[in-house]
Assembly symmetry: C2
DNA sequence: AAGGCAAAGTTCACAGTGTCAACATTGGGT
DNA sequence: ACCCAATGTTGACACTGTGAACTTTGCCTT
């Protein structure tokens, strides 16, 4: 939190990421402008170019931070659950993350970002998939490399991810309950029944 | 295709939708500019304002046309399949639509569009859901209003929708096969096995 | 301690965007 | 034949992402 001189900000890069996520949380539509973020931080738009190659790189950093937080949330959920319920809890954590950070979630996936060539981003995303796969394997009592685990992981991921998107896009809105509740119910039913 | 005078275009509204979808197909990232579209059609940017309240309304019209085409494609797929395979074919049609029209697909769902208050758009989207529900009911040999059909529809929709998004976002790209093939396989497995 | 250099911010500039207000050109109905 | 409403155009404005040139400052070397 240390501030440098009036001229030199001190730790602009981290501040931009922090405030960028905050700004993303306010604008529901999810597109933020570089200049707006710079103004909020109290710095010129071009100052950001000392820390990120361009807007896309900045957004990629936000997304990477998002993946880290998502994985952290899932980790907590799994640890706090009795074994056998881990997969369900991880899925619910995924849904709740999307619900609480809709714009960030859409940035992490979604086409705004050009993921091509961003090494860190692909790394955290891959780690996220491996974590899910191990949860799926554990839920079925299988080895992580066993046949069928990969496919089951894909189906689970697809379901959770799809429910997240439909929820955020307001496709559950016309129903009585809260969209989050609808998605949670659908996920629970799927996990309890055979997937 | 009739052209009016040099000054009056003739049927600008339909042309904008047509060329808008074409333009969307070219720009993979999926955001098109009003002025670019107007230039392509051979008309001033402000001319579009005679037919659409603003850019959002234009995009909504594109999305609505997209929903119509999606539903048409699903209808064909279901009719051309033997009964019992209808649901799977409908889902595969959904996947292939997303694969062939990624930008349009993301526009139809996704936050670029402000769906609030666009009556036509919510209507076609609701029709799409009803069609899916009847396919789910038929696949399980149940009445459309039977208990559990709604939930099963949600799960199916979620899975297909999620696979579509993950596929488009390149999350299956690191695998050997084509992303479309990966998604189709996952869907087929889910439908064959109990969902 | 003095000096200088590279890192980190700033200002200026430019092309492109969505949209508003005012003006121009038409074709169809009285 | 006329006129008016529908349909286009021009000009303008605020805003965006980004490049080039300039300024300030903290740290490292002597």
């Amino acid at each position: 939190m240390e501030r440098g001189s009036a001229y030199h900000h001190g730790n602009l890069r981290e501040t931009l990421i922090e405030e960028g996520i905050a700004l993303l949380a306010e604008r529901a539509d999810g597109d933020i402008s570089l200049r707006q973020l710079a103004r909020r931080v109290g710095v010129t738009a071009n100052a950001t170019y000392r820390h990120f190659a361009n807007k896309n790189a900045l957004l990629a950093a936000l997304a990477a931070e998002g993946f880290r937080r998502l994985q952290e949330g899932q980790g907590e959920a799994v640890r706090g659950a009795d074994p056998g319920q881990g997969l369900r809890e991880a899925g619910l954590a995924y849904l709740r993350f999307a619900w609480r950070h809709p714009a960030l979630f859409r940035l992490m996936f979604g086409p705004t970002l050009n993921r091509q060539g961003d090494e860190e981003l692909t790394r955290v995303a891959a780690a996220s998939f491996r974590a899910l796969r191990s949860a799926v394997a554990a839920a079925h009592g299988l080895d992580e490399e066993a046949a069928g685990v990969e496919g089951a992981t894909l189906r689970t991921w697809g379901l959770v991810h799809g429910l997240s998107h439909l929820m955020l896009d307001g496709q559950f809105g016309w129903r009585a309950e809260s969209p989050l509740a609808v998605a949670e119910q659908a996920l629970t039913d799927a996990v309890d029944g055979p997937l």
